[in-house]
Amino acid sequence: MIDKTVSTPAAAVADIPDGATVMIGGFGTAGMPSQLIDALIDQGARDLTIVNNNAGNGEVGLAALLKKKRVRKIICSFPRQTDSYVFDSLYHAGEIELELVPQGNLAERIRAAGAGIGAFFTPTAYGTPLAEGKETRIIDGRGYVLEYPISADFALVKAEKGDRWGNLVYRKTARNFGPIMASAAKCTVVQVREIVELGAIDPEVMVTPGIFVQRVVGVDVADALTQPQAAA
């Protein structure tokens, strides 16, 4: 019997090595796998490359990971936010590398990694500084930039429900990067609000089939929302 459930966030991220590339789901805090990030902080891996849409908020979650200087490089679309002061100070001090990618190119590059596409021509960023040094081409009169896939060793994703095969559904706009990141990592670790019986997720409704998921850990969201982030 296949059972991808893991008992604790700590066990789910225990083998993430130094130097790993780790995708972290979420757009702002919606879909952010906070318990997995906290477990990663406790676990101690360093020299990480992080792929996330943002670069952390306040001093919790991803920002806490950055503050502990575990992250060598971040690939994201929007690092600068009102409360991204942890990233801001690391960046100004030259202590973190930034690869800035337009949000849709970020999503498509992650999807390309999951879909086995070697590279693709996108119109986004053509003619802008973010296309500098990249291959470009005019196709049918329109300018495109060649972009390459972004894959990862691990993806940390938050979903609403998961079963022992790793099948997932998400909740509202917390879906955001979860399904594509799950497809683009060698090992996808998912925190779910609820672990459900096999068959509880309608096959017509399943968003991420278990083929993209290696580990599922149940996390009590009520706890997550009220409990102060220990690692901050």
Partner: protein, 219 residues
């Protein structure tokens, strides 16, 4: 000099959005357009974080942390709306399925180049988000901005001096002084605020403008 208020600008944009349109309203000023869309007109608002059929902000206490817009503010979903993931959401934009995007801007060039993501300041942390996807991501791209900077420089320019967001992507510009179309023949003035002449607008703008062919449009 009389100027259109922000509400007037938003109402003016709203007038140009017909029933059934699929629309993305950028962060900031463009968000105000939603307040001016008539309630009896079914218009589909897209938010690039994975939402189509976005409704108004929820009542206080009804916020849901999992239901936010691209500005990370709590929103609601209309009956008939849908959720989807980021790759699908940006495919919707890049694939040309949105009828309109409404964006803020630092500068727009005579040929419709857009600069709205970076001032070029050396110590600024660059952050682009979905700006470049939005710039190329609709059949029509509308810009809403003040006509001039605080120091009085025209934001409509011969060539953008700020880093570009997109090339030749803007279709129409709504400012506090005028409504101007970017056309192959140049910047065509569709509407001017009362008591401002075409010649005066052209002087303030600093680049050649074209009169609308219809005498009813520009005065």
């Amino acid at each position: 000099m009389k100027r259109f208020s922000r509400d007037q600008m938003a109402a003016r944009v709203a007038r140009d959005i017909p029933e059934g349109a699929y629309v993305n309203l950028g962060i900031g000023l463009p968000t105000m357009v939603a307040n001016h869309l008539p309630r009896d007109r079914e218009i589909f608002l897209h938010s690039e974080n994975g939402l189509l059929g976005m409704g108004p902000a929820p009542a206080a206490g009804q916020e849901d942390a999992d239901l936010i817009n691209a500005g990370k503010q709590p929103v609601t979903l209309l009956t008939g709306g849908a959720y989807f993931h980021h790759a699908d959401s940006f495919a919707m934009m890049r694939g040309g399925h949105l009828d309109f995007c409404v964006l803020g801007a630092f500068q727009v060039s005579r040929t419709g180049d857009l600069a709205n993501w970076h001032t070029g300041a050396k110590d600024a942390i660059p952050a682009v988000g979905g700006a470049m996807d939005l710039a190329i991501g609709a059949k029509s791209v509308f810009v809403m901005m003040d006509h001039q900077t605080k120091s009085g420089a025209s934001k409509i320019v011969e060539r953008c001096t700020y880093p570009l967001t997109g090339v030749a992507c803007v279709n129409r510009i709504y400012t506090d002084l005028a409504v101007i179309d970017v056309t192959p023949e140049g910047l065509r003035v569709v509407e001017i605020v009362e008591e401002l002449s075409f010649e005066e607008l052209e002087r303030i703008t600093g680049v050649p403008l074209v009169r609308a062919s219809s005498p009813a449009m520009a005065h």
